[in-house]
């Protein structure tokens, strides 16, 4: 568990990084793939250890827990959630490896010289428990071979390794590490996504591509279930950070912009919207804190608490960032004011690890199976 002072130091480091590196050029970075990939920002984040925060210390990582990761993502989300997206995707891939008992899969990543070497690609918008992977894996004498198509793989054209779920036949879903430079692996053009555009995404085509099994064969569903329960608060934290950024921008704007002969914050309907956003922001922050506590303490019913709190925080971010544009009127719809980016980013985050409605169905299933605690 991370101590209070340590957490505060992390927040300050992240805030300083965000102020120095993420504010500048965020509009241009968000134009990807119509602008270059922001490799310089990724390299600095890597050197700062932001891509290995939750990797155990004995593996060379930061050894931090979910609260620290959530704090980092909330701070980056407030300024430019795309970097938060990269951090989240990579951390989820690392978590899957760790939950698989495949610490070796992380070897070399931490000390890597460059961000592409340190990062792992992952189809982070999929839930392999619900949507069967379209990749097939067959074991040969010389190892596992993967065939098929993997859609919407975040960081695939950037990271040198990809962690991909595949169907191994009767044993079901398993995770494999694939070298991006393998022959037989084809990348689509970078996809144009709704949000988190500087967290780039590609489709992959695999034909006889060697893959290294991560953990046990057929353990994919169990492993993802564990990783999902532990990482949902991190995604929610990113959403809460976006929400906070939207509120901050709206607050500043409504204190400056004049209509009807006064600053618009003086109009009571504007105040009602501001109040709604502030309530949503505070609620989301509290939900994230509670979800993190649930993960760290593992109290009875913690998995239900994590899901309910995290999904709600994501919904709140989507609702409030819509108001965040509205309070800026026409300006809020223009890229220069960044509210439209937060609106898009919040939706992109909401769909992490599966469509929101499927996550709701999954929550209901858990509730029915395990009931309410106490």
């Amino acid at each position: 568990m991370t101590g209070g002072a340590e957490l505060q130091m992390l927040r300050e480091t992240a805030a300083s990084f965000a102020a120095n590196e993420l504010v500048r050029d965020r509009e241009e970075r968000d134009r990807y793939p119509f602008s270059p990939l922001p490799l310089d920002v990724l390299e600095k984040a890597h050197r700062l250890g932001l891509f290995s925060l939750t990797v155990p210390e004995d593996l060379g990582g930061g050894g931090q827990g979910i609260r620290a990761l959530a704090a980092l993502l909330a701070v980056t989300g407030e300024t430019d959630a795309s970097l938060g997206g990269v951090i989240f995707v990579n951390a989820l891939a690392q978590e899957i490896c760790l939950r698989s008992g495949a610490e070796g899969a992380l070897a070399g990543l931490i000390e890597a010289e460059s961000a592409p070497q340190a990062l792992m690609a992952l189809p982070a918008w999929d839930d392999p428990r619900i949507t069967a992977p379209s990749l097939r894996a067959v074991e040969r004498d010389d190892g596992w071979m993967l065939d098929g198509r993997a859609e919407y793989v975040a960081l695939a054209g950037l990271a040198l390794r990809a962690l991909l779920p595949a169907d191994t036949g009767k044993e079901g879903v398993s995770f494999f590490l694939v070298d991006r430079q393998s022959g037989g692996l084809g990348l689509s053009d970078p996809l144009v996504s709704h949000g988190l555009r500087a967290c780039p995404i590609w489709d992959l085509g695999l034909s006889e591509v060697p893959g290294a099994l991560v953990g046990e064969e057929g353990a994919g569903v169990r492993v993802f279930e564990e990783a999902y329960s532990r990482m949902l608060p991190a995604a929610a934290a990113l959403a809460a950070g976006i929400l906070r950024g939207s509120l901050r921008e709206a607050l500043e704007y409504t204190k400056q912009r004049r209509q009807g002969g006064r600053v618009i914050a003086g109009w009571s309907e504007v105040r009602m919207i501001l109040a709604g956003m502030a309530m949503a922001s505070q609620e989301a922050d509290m939900l994230v804190r509670e979800a993190c506590r649930a993960v760290e303490e593992g109290y009875p019913g913690w998995r239900l608490a994590v899901r309910a709190a995290s999904l709600r925080a994501m919904d709140l971010a989507c609702e409030a960032t819509t108001d965040g544009i509205q309070l800026l009127g026409g300006n809020g719809y223009m890229v220069e004011y960044h509210q439209e980016k937060r609106f898009r980013d919040s939706r992109q985050v909401q769909a992490l690890m599966g469509a929101q409605d499927l996550k709701r169905q999954e929550l209901a299933r858990l509730l029915l199976e395990e009931g309410l605690p106490g």
Binding site: Q259, S268, G329, G330, Y333
Partner: protein, 501 residues
């Protein structure tokens, strides 16, 4: 019951005439409106299938890559299909389709791409603004320019230039513009006006030939000094500035218009309340300016309601397509009960939104801008008279000042306030109800589809980006709620004051 008592019961709040516009309108509606609306929808669906859907995503990407790109090819295509002239009355050389059918066309187009629907719809916002001046001479001149452009293969669109850097919401309401910081100045000079200032967020600005410019003679008192000027491209002192970089609706540019000592001759002055009416009081000026604004927004907000309905439908259709071909937990999503309920909810949002813009159009046909054209004898006269009668006999009459005076008498002086409140209130209701539903359906579709909806090719993410602007332009949805209150609720509460907080 005696007649006065019955009348009193029906006038009780909510007044029968305020809430059942359709009941009254249907009886008076010419039957040919139905067939004509069918033809308009057929055309729009074919255009959607052959032009909008195949090009919408490509154009959106093109604009993301090059924000300064202008979609002239699409404008030319829409013009070839007749969309820029079909709703112009035959009196002015156009196709003469009934105006309410425009909303149906806009819903169809917006279900494919709201940005492209705007390329058509915003032109009619310009037309509506021009018509709200009831300056028959200029209406004839400008709309015939559009008709000539159609004949010559050179689209001639009309835009409305009203929003300013420091005045967005303010310019939609006389009570607000009184305190607004407006900057587009029209100084009266010999033979016309000299204009200086900037307009921003002007939809279709770069693509239009005529611009209905709202400017102010006295920047300290815009509420009593508003003028409407018709500015044609090429006028010295008028130029285009930048295009805004918007989140969505990328097909339709939002332009900056710059006026630097731009001289607008008297013959291009659409509307100036004092024109030939020097004795008019400030209160009367404010009433007439608000009347003009209400005529415009009563039509245009029904159109935005149709955009909202269309985008809600577009999102619904993509969600339905996805649900019908995607398996979840071993069976098609469309066969999961929760998905069926969700799709029903989305369908409901579309249907209710459509009802609101239809009801608004019924109100407009009975009490608003369309009322003369929808009067059965006028309607059929307009359909049946041969074109040469319009072109050779009636057209010269439109240049007579007396004709403009007569129409202004009818539409400004004889228009009961209750009529204006009814059309404007319903238009606001439709605007915010349908556009909120549009955003809502896009969100629901995304939550069902996950990454399939987030992909650009999935269309839903574009629908969502496009839909958000609908809650902002033509008055924010907050302003429209206030206008509904002002028009349909406040009359019940004499002590209620709006915009005076």
């Amino acid at each position: 019951m005696e007649r006065p008592e019955r009348r009193s019961l029906l006038d009780d709040y909510p007044a029968f005439d305020d809430i059942y516009c359709s009941l009254r309108a249907l009886r008076r509606m010419p039957k040919a409106v139905i067939g004509e609306t069918r033809r308009a929808v057929e055309l729009a669906r074919r255009f959607n299938r052959e032009v909008v859907r195949p090009r919408a995503l490509e154009l959106d990407l093109r604009k993301q890559e090059d924000p300064d790109h202008l979609p002239w090819d699409l404008v030319e295509e829409a013009d070839r299909w007749g969309f820029y002239t079909m709703f112009i009355p035959r009196l002015f050389g156009g196709g003469g389709f009934n105006f309410p059918a425009l909303s149906c066309v806009l819903e169809e187009l917006a279900s494919g791409c709201t940005g492209i629907a705007n390329l058509v719809g915003v032109h009619y916002l310009g037309v509506a603004t021009l018509c709200s001046s009831w300056n028959l001479r200029l209406m004839n001149r400008v709309m015939r320019d559009t008709v000539d452009g159609h004949r010559n293969g050179k689209p001639c669109l009309i835009s409305l230039a009203i929003t300013e850097p420091d005045a967005g919401t303010d310019v939609e309401e006389v009570e607000l513009v009184r305190k607004a910081k407006v900057s587009c100045h029209a100084r009266k000079v010999k033979g016309g006006y000299l204009v200086n200032g900037r307009k921003i967020f002007i939809s279709n600005g770069h693509l239009s030939t005529w611009h209905m410019l709202i400017a102010y003679e006295d920047l300290q008192h815009p509420e009593t000094s508003t003028v409407m000027l018709a500015v044609r491209n090429g006028t010295p002192g008028f130029s285009f500035g930048r295009q805004e970089h918007k989140m969505g609706q990328k097909a339709c540019p939002a332009s900056e218009l710059i006026f630097e000592d731009c001289f607008i001759p008297e013959e291009n002055v659409c509307f100036d309340v004092r024109q030939g009416n020097a004795e008019v009081t400030p209160e009367e000026i404010e009433r007439i300016i608000m009347q003009v604004i209400d005529y415009v927004v009563s039509g245009s907000r029904a159109g935005v309601g149709a955009f909202g309905t269309g985008v809600a439908r577009g999102a619904f259709e993509e969600a339905l397509r996805y649900a019908a071909e995607t398996e979840v937990d071993g069976k098609l999503l469309v066969n999961h009960e929760w998905a069926q309920c969700l799709l029903a909810e989305m369908y409901k949002n579309v249907a209710i939104s459509r009802l609101t813009y239809m009801e608004t159009n019924y109100a407009n046909s009975l009490y608003g801008m369309f009322k003369a054209l929808n009067y059965r004898p006028v309607f059929y006269l307009m359909k049946l008279l041969p074109r040469p009668v319009f072109d050779r006999v009636l057209q010269p009459l439109l240049d007579l000042p007396a004709v403009t005076r007569l129409f202004r008498k009818i539409y400004f002086d004889w228009q009961p306030q209750a009529f204006t409140r009814r059309t404007s209130g319903w238009a606001s209701l439709s605007k915010f109800a349908a556009t909120d539903a549009g955003v809502r359906n896009c969100q629901l579709a995304l939550e069902m589809m996950g990454r399939a909806g987030l992909r650009h090719q999935g269309r839903v993410e574009k629908h969502l980006r496009d839909s958000k602007l609908l809650q902002i332009y033509e008055g924010t949805n907050q302003l429209n709620r206030l206008n509904l209150f002002k028009c349909l609720i406040a009359p019940k509460v004499p002590q209620a004051r709006v915009f005076e907080e």
